[in-house]
Structure formats: structure tokens, C-alpha cells
């Protein structure tokens, strides 16, 4: 196997987006009959690299070799034609159509070149053979929407086979699967490898790499930091390679803070399929970090706390008293605030002005008699908050969508500051913003905690969590799997817990 030529080889790949380097001089290859694991933290460049391998993006520099010959991939179609297929995290079946139709979508079997009626029998017969070849007995006439996620994945793999793919890319395929389903998927992958197919396997989960991969490549900050055969590496080495060491200078020494009485207590909160049996406490003046991989259920949890999603059981206490929170309005009444993980979709009214966005939750509070807009109070409040948070905007009437990400985020924070929240839920508050704004937001978070605000901070940046949080809770597949004190929280330990290692 080691002597055989690479099926796909990417050489010296560099890709920048608007001045930000996503990939720099990355080499990567996969051979026929090999499972090559690709790992790295969120934003390390895995998906960009795979988008280049599947013709979604084209590289600024570097070249692609398919079976030793240089190729250019302009569109996903070009990649399909060569035999490269990707199974995405979000499955792309059309639920109303049958399994068979989904498998042959875009290239139905036909007898003649110009026009042919749909060959239903042939579609179903060939679909059945493909699925059986993968060891599954699914009726290809069933609508895809009835299938479990695991079965849908299988249909996607069958689809790749129907198109005679030679290279299959799987993007975190096990994240929605149960253990037995994952085990079956591993068997299918082993079977494909035995047939001589090349597989690129993207994952966050350490044990899986050892279970099925032949080689592993680690990306960090857009660079390739390690490629080794699985037998020559250890989990510790891989984690260290993923995390790296730098950035420490962002975080000034922390001043001691008085942590007081419990402010927010959650007991046994459960929403099946999203999170289970969540219990924790956040005290006055405390910053509690919530770590975990994408999809671990962190966003679902904070949004449920804020009344924006439903939960089926469990209790929420504020200042020791049980509270019922059914809507965000209830949560706000109890002194909560939420910075959402997605500014554009959940935070801002893009076309409205900075002032409108800033005043959104406060408007009714400053209004005369509770309903007549108080223009003067709104203007004063806007001016005060804009200068307090140093928001850079040409004017308060400028549409918020023209501001930079950092300034948009400051508008959202400012909006809640006006409410003087006692409990502040922050979901990825520094995602996608520049370093300067990041530091200002860190400073603000610390200042709020010093004033006694209880803060629950969800972040995928471990550095951020380790330096801001007093304690870190780690979630994995919807459960809190560990709690680390500030002193014991190292990146390795957080990541170990977040990827499903035992505490």
C-alpha cells in the first residue's frame, strides 16, 4: 500500500479569503485503498482544503494531481467526473423522493442518449444491488425522508458508488450516529477500502482515528503540522499538534474577583436529541466557560435557558427561586441576556440602523407610558453606549450591516448592557471578529464579572475559555462530561473530554 501511487495529491495549496489566509502551502495526499484521517480544530482549514479537493473553491497557489496527472477543478461537477465524491455533514437527500431516485439523481440510467422514459425498474434494481453490496437491505422504493440519519448516510455512500467514485470524503460522519450505527459505518468504510477506494475521513474524535484510519494529517491555523502513519503516533501527540502553543499575550493577568452566591442554577435540564440532564450553577461575578465541539449541544442549551427553545424536563433557578422561562421576554424579565452565536441570523436586523438595532430590547423600557417611543432618551442612550463601547460607525443612523463584524458584535453587546443583565449568556461572542475588537470584548466580559454579573461563556476557542473562565464545563454529545477548575484546565484536557475521552 505504501508504495502505490497517490490517488489524489494536493501540493503547496494556498488559499486566502479577503486577505485572511485560510490555507498556506498545504500538502495532502490519499492513496487508493487508504483511509486518511484529516483532523484539526474548528477553523484550522479542513473544510477549505476539502472544498478545493471537490472543486467548490480553487486554490490561489498549488496544484492538484489525480493519479499522477495535474488536473484543474473549476466546479464540483469536474470533481464528480474524476470520481471524487463528498458526503457532507448536512445530508443532501431529497426527502420526498425515493431512495433509488436519490441515488441516481442527476444521472438516471437511460437506454438512449437523447430521450428516454424514466427506467424505474432499472433504477430500483441497481439501487438494491448497490445497497446490498454495502451489506444493507433497504427497499429502494421507500422515500428517503423515512430513513434514519445512518441509513441516509448509507444512501449517500451508495450514490457515490453509483457514480463510480474512487475517492470518498466523509465529513464528521459519526457525529449524528449512535455507537452501533457508527460501528456499522466503520465496517462499510473498511469494505470500501478493501475494494481499493480512497477515503478521506474528517473527524474530531480521537478514538475513531485509531479505529479506522491508516494515516492521519493534522491542520492548524491553515498549515499542515503533521502527517504520520497511525501506528507511529499517539493521541497525545495528535492533540498537541492540533492545539499548538501561542497567543498567550492577548490575555492580561487576571485580577482576583469576588465570587458570590449562586445566581443561575440549572438542574437536570433535558431536551431529547439536543442535551440531557444538564446540571450546573453560575455564581455572582463568576465566568463559567462551556466547551465542546460543534454539535455538542451548547447553543441548544443556552438558547433553551433563554426561552428560545423548548426543553422537556429540568428546573431553572435564579437567585435560588425556581423560574418558568417560556419565551425570551420571560428570560429578559428575569435579568438574563443572550449574545447569539450567529449575528446575522439571530442577532441583527441587517438593513435597520445602528440605533434601531441597539435599542431593540430596551425600547419599551425607555418609552413614555411604556409604549410611546421616547426619541430623546433613545438618542442619548445610543450615544452613550456607542462611545462607551467605542463602536466605529459613521452615524447612529447607518445601516448596521455595513459595520465590521467586530463593531456589529459591539452593537449587540451594547444592546444588552443597557438592560443591566444579572445573568449574561454569551454564545461565541468573539466569533469572526478582529483581534482588536476581541480584546475589547474580553475586557468588557471581565468588567461585567467584576461588577457581579454571572456569565456563561460558550466558546470554541480554548485559549479564550482558559483565560476568561473561572471554571470550564465540557459538553460532549449533549451531556456535561466534565468540569475543570481554572488551574487544571489545559487545552489537552478540555479537548480530551470534548472528544469523548473519560474524565
Amino acid at each position: 500500500m505504501s508504495s502505490s501511487e497517490a490517488l489524489l495529491r494536493l501540493e503547496g495549496i494556498t488559499k486566502t479569503f479577503g486577505g485572511i489566509v485560510a490555507l498556506e502551502d498545504v500538502d495532502f495526499e490519499v492513496k487508493a485503498g487508504e483511509v486518511h484521517a484529516l483532523i484539526g480544530e474548528n477553523g484550522a482549514g479542513k473544510s477549505t482544503l476539502m472544498k478545493i479537493a471537490t472543486g467548490v473553491h480553487s486554490a490561489d497557489r498549488g496544484r492538484l494531481l489525480w493519479k499522477g496527472r495535474p488536473v484543474k477543478l473549476q466546479t464540483p461537477r469536474d470533481a464528480h467526473r474524476l470520481g471524487i465524491r463528498m458526503v457532507h455533514q448536512e445530508l443532501m437527500l431529497i426527502p420526498q423522493l425515493s431512495i433509488g431516485e436519490n441515488i441516481f439523481l442527476g444521472r438516471p440510467p437511460s437506454r438512449r442518449a437523447v430521450f428516454s422514459w424514466v427506467q424505474w425498474n432499472e433504477i430500483y434494481e441497481r439501487a438494491r444491488r448497490l445497497l446490498q453490496g454495502l451489506g444493507h437491505d433497504l427497499d429502494p422504493r421507500r422515500p428517503a425522508g423515512e430513513l434514519s440519519v445512518a441509513e441516509q448516510q448509507l444512501v449517500e455512500i451508495a450514490r457515490a458508488l453509483a457514480f463510480e467514485a474512487e475517492l470518498l470524503i466523509l465529513d464528521e460522519p459519526t457525529s449524528p450516529l449512535s455507537e452501533p450505527e457508527a460501528e456499522r459505518l466503520f465496517q462499510t468504510i473498511a469494505q470500501l477500502r478493501a475494494r481499493g477506494m480512497g477515503v478521506i475521513y474528517i473527524t474530531h474524535r480521537m478514538p475513531e482515528i485509531y479505529r479506522i484510519a491508516d494515516r492521519v494529517t493534522v491542520l492548524r491555523d491553515g498549515r499542515r503540522v503533521l502527517t504520520k502513519s497511525i501506528s507511529e503516533t499517539s493521541a497525545e501527540e495528535l492533540v498537541r499538534a492540533m492545539v499548538g502553543r501561542e497567543l498567550t499575550e492577548y490575555f492580561p493577568e487576571r485580577e482576583p474577583r469576588a465570587i458570590g452566591e449562586p445566581r443561575l442554577r440549572v438542574e437536570g435540564l433535558t431536551a431529547p436529541g439536543r442535551f440531557y440532564d444538564i446540571t450546573f450553577t453560575v455564581h455572582h461575578g463568576e465566568i463559567v466557560g462551556l466547551a465542546g465541539l460543534v454539535g455538542a449541544g451548547r447553543t441548544e442549551l443556552v438558547e433553551a435557558l433563554f426561552g428560545a427553545r423548548e426543553y422537556t424536563s429540568g428546573k431553572i433557578f435564579i437567585e435560588g427561586r425556581p423560574v418558568t422561562i417560556r419565551t425570551p421576554a420571560d428570560a429578559i424579565r428575569h435579568g438574563m441576556a443572550l449574545v447569539t452565536d450567529d449575528r446575522k441570523a439571530k442577532g441583527l436586523i441587517p438593513m435597520a440602523s445602528v440605533q434601531v438595532n441597539l435599542i431593540l430590547p430596551v425600547q419599551a423600557r425607555v418609552a413614555h407610558l411604556g409604549f410611546l417611543v421616547n426619541t430623546r432618551a433613545e438618542r442619548h442612550l445610543t450615544e452613550r453606549l456607542l462611545s462607551e463601547l467605542r463602536v466605529k460607525t459613521p452615524s447612529a443612523h447607518h445601516p448596521v450591516m455595513f459595520l465590521s463584524g467586530g463593531n456589529q458584535q459591539k452593537v449587540i453587546l451594547a444592546r444588552w448592557l443597557a438592560m443591566h443583565p444579572r445573568i449574561f449568556l454569551m454564545d461565541e461572542p468573539t466569533r469572526g471578529i478582529d483581534v482588536g475588537a476581541k480584546m475589547e470584548i474580553y475586557e468588557l466580559i471581565r468588567r461585567l464579572a467584576a461588577q457581579g454579573t454571572a456569565i456563561l461563556l460558550v466558546s470554541s476557542e480554548l485559549e479564550e475559555l482558559r483565560h476568561l473562565a473561572d471554571r470550564i464545563l465540557v459538553m460532549h454529545r449533549g451531556r456535561i462530561v466534565g468540569e475543570l477548575q481554572r488551574e487544571e484546565a489545559t487545552d489537552d484536557r478540555i479537548l480530551y473530554l470534548a472528544t469523548g475521552g473519560e474524565g
Partner: protein, 337 residues
């Protein structure tokens, strides 16, 4: 230093210009179109710019203007209300029946308004509480239900000869100004204040701009939506009182297709189907553009069939302008990034 300042000024100018010009165009574009049309008609027909005729245009636009006002609220929330024409018809019949049963005009008017509001509120409840996928569905249902009830209650025949004090609201005048015109102006002024000066009004814009963000900001989205549909129904009932008064009858087929005229007026008046944008005055101008178009084509002896054709073209042009504006904003955003 000086050069820096001036280049900074240029930067600000470059940043501001499209943001200023596009909203201005949206704001005054419809008014400009109305003035140009009126100017052209004044030249083409000596009868157009007479006091008589201008009042006539206003009076004929009144019912559409009221329906459009309700529709505006709904469209600002990125919704649609297909039931207003049928609610108008049902309320015409109900008002006539109540009057025929001997109810005094004031009580009949109050009852009609209450019933229209309740029908609209039902739309809102169905949309929010049953989580129907789009307001198209409950209002389409209501459109058929209300029309059917209007026909059932009236037996399909107009109910004519209504009392004088009721007819006053549709056919009367104060100081030479027809009542429908006075009602429309007062109601429009009130709704202008409602949308711009109350927190509920601002919430309606926020919901249309980004429903999720509005919800997460603590705005009671469902309650606001129910209010909006209730108001739309209430305004249709008000339109019914004017129409029944003017026609001196409750006609069960009154307002067939009127919901589409109302939507057209709102869109021509610069509101966006994407939600979050639209003004009361723009909608009035939109309703007047449609009124002037019909009136002008009448004066010019163009067949009524052509009027409909022309209005269709105007609607498409108005929305196309909206799309262009939206795309210009999108491009701007990409460019800035």
C-alpha cells in the same frame, strides 16, 4: 492632516451615498411617479385637475386605501393577508343585516368593526398558534370562509336601502369634503403615529426585519403578529362601512379581488415583500397612483380592460425596482467586506 481629513470625508461620502440615495428613492420615488402621472394627465385631459375630479379620485381610492393600510402592516412583518376582500364583503352584508334588524347605526358600526377585527385576529391566531407554515394559508382559508358566509347570510342578493345616518359615513360630506376622504386621512394619520411613535409599531418593523432577532430581543412576536392581522381585519370592516354606505347596500360580492389591489398599492408605495420596510404615506401614494391610473385612463376613454393590464405592468415594475435596490445593497455589503 488636511489631506487626511479630506480623504476621510471622501470615504464617508462614498460610504454614505448609496445608503442615503436608495432610501430617498424608495421614500419619494412613488410620490414622484404620482406627480409625473398627474402632470401628464393634466396636460392630456382638461377634466383631470378639477376640484371635483380630484375629490372623486380620493373618494374612489378610499376603500382600497383602508385595505392597503392593513395590508401594509402585514407586509411589513413579511406576511400577506389574502382575506381582506372577503372580510370586506362579509362585513358589508353583516352591517346591512344588523341595520335591517333595527339596530341603530352607531351600534351596527361598532359591531361590524368588532367582527372584522375578530376575523383578522383569527387569521393571526391560526398563523401563530397552529404554526401554519405561512400566513398565505390561514388567510386563504379565511378568504373562502368569509366569502362563503357573506353569500350564505345574504342568500346571494344585495341588501339595499340602508338608513340615512349609516349612509352618511360612506356617502356624506363635511364642509364639502366627502366622509370617506376625511376618514382615510384621520386613520392614516393615526396609523402613521402608531407605526413610527409607539413601541408596538417599531416591533412590527423589527419582526419583519429579522423575526429571530426580534424574538431573542424579547419582543412578543406572536402577540404582535396577532395584533397586526386583527388590525388588518378591522380596517377591512371600516372599508365595508364606507362601501356599504356609499352603495346604499350590503353586497355579498363586494371586494372580490380587492385584496390584490391592496397588495398592489402597498408594493407600489415602496414597501418590501421581504418585510421590514414600508411607510403609511407611501401606501397612501400607492393607493392614489392606482386611483389616478384608473381615473386617468377613464378620462382618456381607455377601456376598463386596459386599466387592469396597465396596473399589472406597474406592479411588476414597482417590485422590480425593489429587487434592484435590494441587489444594490447586497453588492454594497459584499464590496465592503
Amino acid at each position: 492632516m488636511n489631506r487626511e481629513t479630506s480623504s476621510a470625508m471622501a470615504d464617508i461620502g462614498r460610504i454614505l451615498r448609496p445608503d442615503l440615495v436608495l432610501p430617498l428613492l424608495r421614500r419619494f420615488g412613488p410620490l414622484l411617479a404620482l406627480l409625473l402621472m398627474s402632470g401628464a394627465l393634466t396636460i392630456l385631459s382638461p377634466h383631470f385637475l378639477t376640484f371635483e375630479n380630484v375629490l372623486n379620485v380620493f373618494r374612489q381610492s378610499a376603500v382600497n386605501a383602508l385595505l392597503a393600510l392593513g395590508q401594509l402592516l402585514v407586509i411589513i412583518t413579511a406576511g400577506i393577508d389574502l382575506s381582506v376582500g372577503s372580510i370586506l364583503g362579509l362585513c358589508c352584508v353583516l352591517a346591512a343585516l344588523l341595520l335591517k334588524a333595527g339596530m341603530p347605526a352607531s351600534a351596527a358600526i361598532a359591531a361590524t368593526l368588532a367582527i372584522g377585527t375578530a376575523l383578522g385576529m383569527t387569521n393571526g391566531l391560526l398563523f401563530t398558534k397552529l404554526r401554519l407554515p405561512h400566513p398565505f394559508i390561514p388567510t386563504l382559508g379565511m378568504m373562502n370562509v368569509a366569502r362563503g358566509l357573506a353569500l350564505v347570510l345574504s342568500g346571494g342578493f344585495p341588501i339595499s336601502e340602508l338608513p340615512e345616518d349609516f349612509r352618511f359615513w360612506g356617502a356624506g360630506a363635511l364642509g364639502g369634503i366627502p366622509m370617506p376622504v376625511i376618514i382615510v386621512l384621520i386613520v392614516y394619520a393615526l396609523f402613521h403615529l402608531f407605526l413610527t411613535r409607539t413601541t408596538i409599531g417599531r416591533d412590527i418593523y423589527a419582526i419583519g426585519g429579522n423575526k429571530q432577532a426580534a424574538l431573542l430581543s424579547g419582543i412578543p412576536v406572536d402577540r404582535r403578529l396577532i395584533t397586526v392581522y386583527a388590525l388588518s381585519g378591522g380596517l377591512a370592516a371600516l372599508g365595508a362601512i364606507i362601501l356599504a354606505g356609499r352603495m346604499n347596500s350590503g353586497f355579498p360580492l363586494a371586494g372580490v379581488g380587492a385584496e390584490l389591489d391592496a397588495i398592489a398599492a402597498v408594493i407600489i408605495g415602496g414597501a418590501s415583500f421581504f418585510g421590514g420596510v414600508g411607510t403609511v404615506w407611501g401606501t397612501l401614494v400607492g393607493a392614489l397612483i392606482m386611483g389616478v391610473l384608473r381615473n386617468g385612463l377613464n378620462l382618456l376613454d381607455v377601456s376598463a380592460y386596459w386599466q387592469t393590464t396597465v396596473i399589472g405592468v406597474v406592479i411588476v415594475i414597482a417590485v422590480w425596482v425593489d429587487v434592484l435596490r435590494q441587489r444594490a445593497l447586497e453588492r454594497r455589503r459584499v464590496f465592503r467586506k
